[in-house]
């Protein structure tokens, strides 16, 4: 992975201009969903400390808020942003402009319309109550088709690549493109159209929700990470020869972590044991990712710093996942906020920060102009770091208190609520902070895109800029 481009004229190429507006459409949708998901997360968090909050309206029932927030985060923010970056990377590493970009536009519109319809469905009473698969089944078919349409240029770029070798960023991007439709449609069949029997639903649901993380979201985050880090450091990745092993480890072993949350439950014990072993084996993957991308830590622009912190959180998330999978630890942490903290560590601190960094990296190159305001970028990064740290720590604290209280049968749930309250208030504050940061991103993005929109009508005299001016550097 030594495709370091030092020449500024290579920074914005025909590959980027061809993909400009379709990919910006995806990124635009993703940022708006991220903000909306933040609003719902804030409401849900307030409801945990103040049960009366907005509770008289059925749309704001806590369970529905959680279901909507989760769906928006995964299918709104993560899918749109992840796909945009995966396509961009496949185009750039494939060496030729992306083809069939009309499919992306149509697919993006269809995907987001389906998501809106699904959210209306949840709000009016059609939620499925299956983790990560909350959207009602009538929109899911449309989503599979729309996903296929968005993925077309990526597959074409992969199949028609001009380079001799392939890069880790490409493997992860292609894996994410292919694996999601299979996983998603298999889960729909097993859980919604022709449900399996009894607790098998929990097993299939666990396989799906862990698969969404290990087979789709993690590759979607690693693709930009493996692309950006060597570009920023300007060096070949250390221990790169282990990257293929780490890749296959994630895909093969990751799928087996499905029984992760069924420890002690009404399913055969081997399912949980298999998941625990897999969680530990997966540490190999996390370790190699850390070894490969450790060069990205502590240098470079704000964008690369976001990616670096995200990667650190990604690795930590894997570590916490493995530790809390063990039966001895799970006896305390299962069903508590520790699990929420682990999820936030992986999904927010890991996935989201990497993708935010990648967006800050990619948008200037797509548009051929820098961000509207460098200060907003720096501000967002600072806010995001603070918010994420506060969120994870406060949820861990709440979970630890809750876990120990749950073990003592004499402590009532009302008392547990009182004991966890300070921690949950901190988590609520963290959600507010994160929302504020994402609003900054939205403003900055809209301003940048509008400026790019107006400028592109008249040819700019110098569309190529030094890479350093592309990013808002804080160092």
């Amino acid at each position: 992975m030594t495709t370091v481009q030092t020449n500024a004229s290579h920074e914005v190429t025909a590959i980027d201009t061809a993909a400009r507006w379709p990919l910006l459409l995806l990124i635009h949708a993703s940022i708006k969903w991220l903000v909306l998901s933040g609003v719902l997360a804030l409401i849900g968090s307030i409801q945990l400390v103040q049960p009366v909050f907005l509770s008289t309206c059925a749309i704001f029932a806590h369970g529905r808020i959680v279901a909507m927030q989760e769906s928006i985060f995964i299918y709104g923010w993560a899918a749109n942003a992840g796909l945009a970056l995966a396509l961009w990377i496949l185009g750039r590493l494939g060496g030729s402009p992306l083809r069939a970009m009309n499919w992306v536009v149509v697919g993006t519109l269809a995907w987001n319309v389906a998501l809106v319809l699904g959210l209306i469905g949840i709000a009016t009473g059609d939620a499925t109550s299956i983790a990560f698969l909350q959207l009602p089944r009538y929109v899911q078919l449309l989503m599979v088709v729309a996903y296929g349409a968005i993925a077309v240029p990526g597959v074409l770029a992969w199949a028609g690549r001009r380079t001799e070798g392939t890069f880790a960023a490409q493997w992860y991007a292609v894996a994410a493109l292919f694996l999601f439709p299979w996983l998603f449609s298999a889960a729909q069949l097993m859980l919604l159209w022709s449900p399996v029997r009894g607790t098998l639903q929990a097993v299939a649901g666990g396989w799906f929700s862990q698969g969404i993380w290990t087979l789709w979201l993690a590759p979607l985050a690693l693709a930009p990470a493996y692309y950006i880090v060597p570009k920023v450091t300007g060096r070949a990745l250390p221990s790169y020869e282990f990257a293929p092993h780490s890749f296959w480890c994630l895909l093969v072993v990751g799928g087996f972590t499905g029984g992760r949350h069924l420890v002690g439950g009404p399913v055969p014990a081997w399912i949980a044991s298999l998941a625990i072993v897999s969680c530990v084996l997966l540490l190999f993957h996390y370790f190699v990712v850390f070894m490969n991308l450790r060069g990205g830590l502590g240098r470079g622009s704000t964008a690369s710093r976001l990616v670096a912190v995200g990667l650190l959180a990604y690795v930590l998330g894997g570590l916490v996942d493995a530790i809390t999978a063990f039966r001895g630890v799970a006896a305390i942490t299962q069903f508590t906020f520790v699990e929420v903290a682990q999820q936030q560590l992986a999904l927010y601190a890991g996935f989201t920060l990497i993708l935010l960094g990648a967006i800050y990296f990619a948008v200037p190159r797509l548009l051929g102009r820098g961000w509207f305001s460098a200060n907003l970028v720096i501000g967002h990064a600072a806010i995001a770091f603070t918010g994420v740290a506060l969120l994870v720590v406060s949820l861990l604290g709440a979970g630890w208190v809750q876990g120990h209280d749950l073990l003592d049968a004499k402590i009532s749930f009302a008392d547990i609520a009182i004991h966890t309250r300070p921690w949950l208030l901190a988590a609520t504050a963290a959600q507010g902070i994160l929302l504020l940061g994402n609003l900054l991103l939205l403003v900055n993005f809209l301003e940048t895109a509008c400026a790019g929109c107006c400028a592109s009508a008249t040819p700019t005299e110098n569309p190529f800029r030094e890479p350093s001016t592309m990013e808002a550097t804080a160092s």
Partner: protein, 220 residues
């Protein structure tokens, strides 16, 4: 990775392996689980859900109750599930075979509901309705549950008061001439919650960890 088709095949195998290894294998083990026929009682267990309870389970799913409540009693060596009186035995796969959408849950912000219909002292429908409306456990003054007032209608009393109307006191007393009546959703939800009663002891629900129990008993 240079070989495109082989790479594609690898991706497919990776997904299929994990699917076969977790879902297919457990389906092989549990998919054909039948009700247990007890000759002494001349009945088979678990009992089928009444229709109204099956409808209530849909309300449970739609409101996302599973985001705070579990429906599983874990094994005796796990947590305080048994000590809290959530059940007298661990939940087993057979308990769930008649449920259309099993919601084991992943969070215990609120208590487990597996055996809500078998609690001692027993809840009756009236208690649960009031609890859902006010969000306060009967006899306490603290709101611990989001009040689900949308599950109830406030209606003018025409003629007699409805048989279903809630007998509310304190700050919740409806205005004069009005009554608070549970909707059909509330009635099915409560019927579902009260139908949760897995007390029958199956052969497989009794395997106490013998080797483990002995040293503990010796300590005591």
């Amino acid at each position: 990775m240079k070989n495109g088709p082989l790479f594609f095949f690898g991706l497919f195998v990776a997904l299929t392996l994990s699917w076969a290894g977790t879902v297919l294998l457990s389906n092989h083990q549990l998919g054909a689980l039948t009700p247990f026929y007890d000759e002494n009682e001349s009945a088979s267990f678990p009992l089928r859900q009444p229709g109204v309870a099956a409808r209530g389970q849909l309300v449970y799913a739609d409101l996302g109750c599973a985001s705070c409540h579990t429906q599983q009693v874990r094994r005796p060596d796990f947590g305080s599930d048994l000590a809290r009186g959530w059940g007298e035995r661990q939940s087993v796969a057979r308990d769930y075979i008649f449920q259309a959408r099993v919601q084991l849950g992943t969070s215990r912000v609120g208590p487990d509901l597996t055996n809500l219909g078998a609690r001692k002292p027993a809840y009756d429908a009236e208690d649960l309705m009031k609890f859902l409306y006010t969000g306060m456990i009967p006899g306490t003054k603290v709101v611990t549950h989001p009040p689900c007032t949308y599950l109830f209608d406030e209606r003018a009393i025409v003629g007699e008061t409805s048989k279903l109307a809630l007998n509310l006191t304190g700050g919740f007393t409806p205005a004069a001439g009005c009554q608070i009546v549970p909707t059909e959703g509330a009635q099915s939800l409560v019927a579902f919650l009260l139908s949760l009663n897995n007390t029958y002891d199956y052969p497989e629900s009794r395997p106490m960890p013998v080797e483990k129990a002995k040293p503990e008993a010796a300590k005591k």
